[in-house]
Symmetry: C2
Subunit: 359 residues, 2 copies
DNA sequence: TTGTATGCGTTATCAA
DNA sequence: TTGATAACGCATACAA
């Protein structure tokens, strides 16, 4: 059973007045020592600091929050885990954001929401009623209702993922998907591949579109055979979908020797299909994934890595820039409005050179 | 660039007095309508309710929190993502907890911490200084310093994962790992397997020990050949470790026809090893994983599923029971102190019957 | 440089 | 049943 300690001795946390009494000053002076040390004479400051340390005083954040109407919390909608996604992307993003928030003394507040409308509503409520400073909007799409709604209601936020258009009326952080895919194509070309296929996400969505365009552009830039443009299939982000698309490419009379995919999940599908088709990944067929998930590492899959730590830092930096009122001097890597971060390619054994032609 | 709306119009949220004025009553009456409706005459109540609705009044949670010294937030330490784990377990747990918290109007507050000591320190600070009601301790181990420290400092918490001993001086929720492994063994026996091996986690750790003991017990109960007890290897929770252990089992003169693993990550290692060894999973070798991660589904791997939704609900229910002071009538599935939840086995094609003996 | 007064929005105590 | 008064812990404007 659970007998939980004595009474919730939460009761006796020392307060400003306690410190003031102990140091023999007024509580305002204590407040100044904390919030504006330069306005206090060094010796008083020291005496107060001593009392603070001795009592283990910590400012009550609830009181601070009520007074300043901001609770140093960043809201994040936790999405239902997509059952097919192999990639613990949210884990990593949450960790990255939390870690970045630590330096700025910000915490993440998680909330569930069933859809965009619910998310908007909760953001407004949390902002107005709970002092949540700002929000991170994940996966903003072209026709996404969230940015407009939040702007209109004065709720600060940073979008992770741009809309289709470049410049927007809100701050965003994104990864250069276009560049990432291009880097994968370049790598495969350097390895000697000429027939490169692409298995992608729905191009009408933001991420899917960027990655698909990156692929087409890279094919052109590398002056690969123009019929490569036919070696492209897009669909859902699931392993079975990846398998199906891979089969469709492999059964062609002129199959690709390499396949770039828009996600590790799709790449796993491609690898499974290859195995069933009797071609060996890393020898007969090169495969590159996207996200550098643990799965990619486990399967020796080359993959495009998103810079998670920087993503968190940039989002947090941008958030802090939005609300300078909060008094927290940004203390961030760099001033930031919109940021496009570069992914890198992690090369493993799945993206070897093409097998010598047996024809 | 980001021009973020007008000014933070956060300013004009209606307050208790606004409602009171609109309804022509005192603010205390409004408060009563919300917190103790039975103490207010129905007609007044109705009038006030109307004003509340008309103004879209929402209680300011910061003020509530300051006054009642509890912010309806549950603290959760976000762990660094383990690079080798294929399983987005935290994603799912966080979602499950958030969802369970929604019904009780609780939110999750995430915080990073580098080690146990840091976690303890942050929990204490957050509890005393930020009104965080209670915490979820993940993966409590036998010699874990956290429970003792939190009990001593009066910080309420629920442990997910028991320590080695059964009854403790704190509340916990756990999954019956022992039962889960046993269910896997039973299933394989029903399928006709007699030589069943086990690839597990470090037995000196809590989870690893429970699962390993579950395996040994099941072997005995099923009266399998006693030399099965030799078909057990334990190590790190990584794919390479799983591969190594699988090779060690496969190269024996009397290899197992089925392998139960203590994680999907290990199972993937076993499957890769089998493939390289030239035996086909689902035909020559049965494999069962643990966690029913997306990876398991993707690879057609039979796996033991932890009941994520119930885990979240039970943890939340237990948390609310700890702090009845908070005024939130539990509103939970059932009163709960310590809870052991049952996993279920998800059967896929990796755990077929043994191939007919060719000897 | 330091202290005093006031208020953030709510809940709790008590009197009417 | 309702309302006045006090307090939660802090910060801000202003006076000393």
């Amino acid at each position: 059973m659970a007998e939980q300690a004595p009474p919730p001795t939460n009761a006796t946390a020392p307060t400003l007045v306690d410190v003031a009494r102990a140091a023999g000053v007024s509580r305002q002076t204590v407040s100044n020592v904390i919030n504006a040390p330069e306005r206090v004479r060094p010796e008083t400051r020291e005496r107060v600091a001593l009392s603070i340390a001795r009592l283990g005083y910590q400012p009550n954040r609830l009181a601070q929050a009520l007074r300043t109407n901001t609770s140093r919390m960043i809201g994040y909608r936790i999405e239902p885990p997509t059952p097919h996604a192999l990639d613990p992307f949210h884990d990593r993003l949450l960790h990255s954001l939390s870690e970045a928030g630590r330096a700025a003394d910000r915490h993440l507040l998680l909330f569930p929401a069933d859809d965009d409308a619910a998310e908007i509503e909760v953001c407004q409520r949390l902002h107005r009623g709970a002092g949540v400073e700002a929000f991170v909007l994940y996966g903003v799409e072209a026709q996404d209702p969230r940015p407009r709604a939040l702007i209109d209601s004065g709720v600060p936020f940073v979008a992770f993922g741009r809309t289709a258009q470049g410049s927007e009326e809100y701050a965003w952080v994104d990864v250069d998907n276009f560049f990432g895919i291009a880097a994968a194509v370049d790598h495969l070309v350097r390895r000697g591949h000429r027939r490169i296929g692409y298995v992608g996400l729905k191009p009408e969505e933001n991420v899917g579109g960027q990655r698909a365009r990156g692929w087409h552009a890279a094919i052109d830039r590398q002056q690969l055979p123009s019929d490569c443009h036919a070696l492209v299939l897009c669909g859902q982000d699931t392993v079975p979908a990846g398998m199906q698309m891979a089969f469709a490419l492999l059964e062609r009379s002129d199959p690709p020797t390499a396949i770039v995919t828009a996600s590790d999940t799709l790449a796993v599908g491609v690898m499974r299909a290859a195995q069933q088709w009797g071609v060996e990944v890393g020898r007969d067929l090169a495969v590159v994934g996207f996200d550098d998930s643990p799965t990619a590492a486990a399967l020796d899959l080359s993959s495009i890595r998103q810079p998670m730590a920087e993503i968190g830092q940039q989002i947090m930096a941008t958030l802090l820039n939005l609300t300078p009122a909060a008094g927290g001097r940004p203390a961030t890597p760099q001033d930031s409005t919109d940021t496009l971060l570069m992914p890198t390619l992690v090369i493993r054994s799945s993206s070897a050179s093409p097998a010598p032609r047996t024809t």
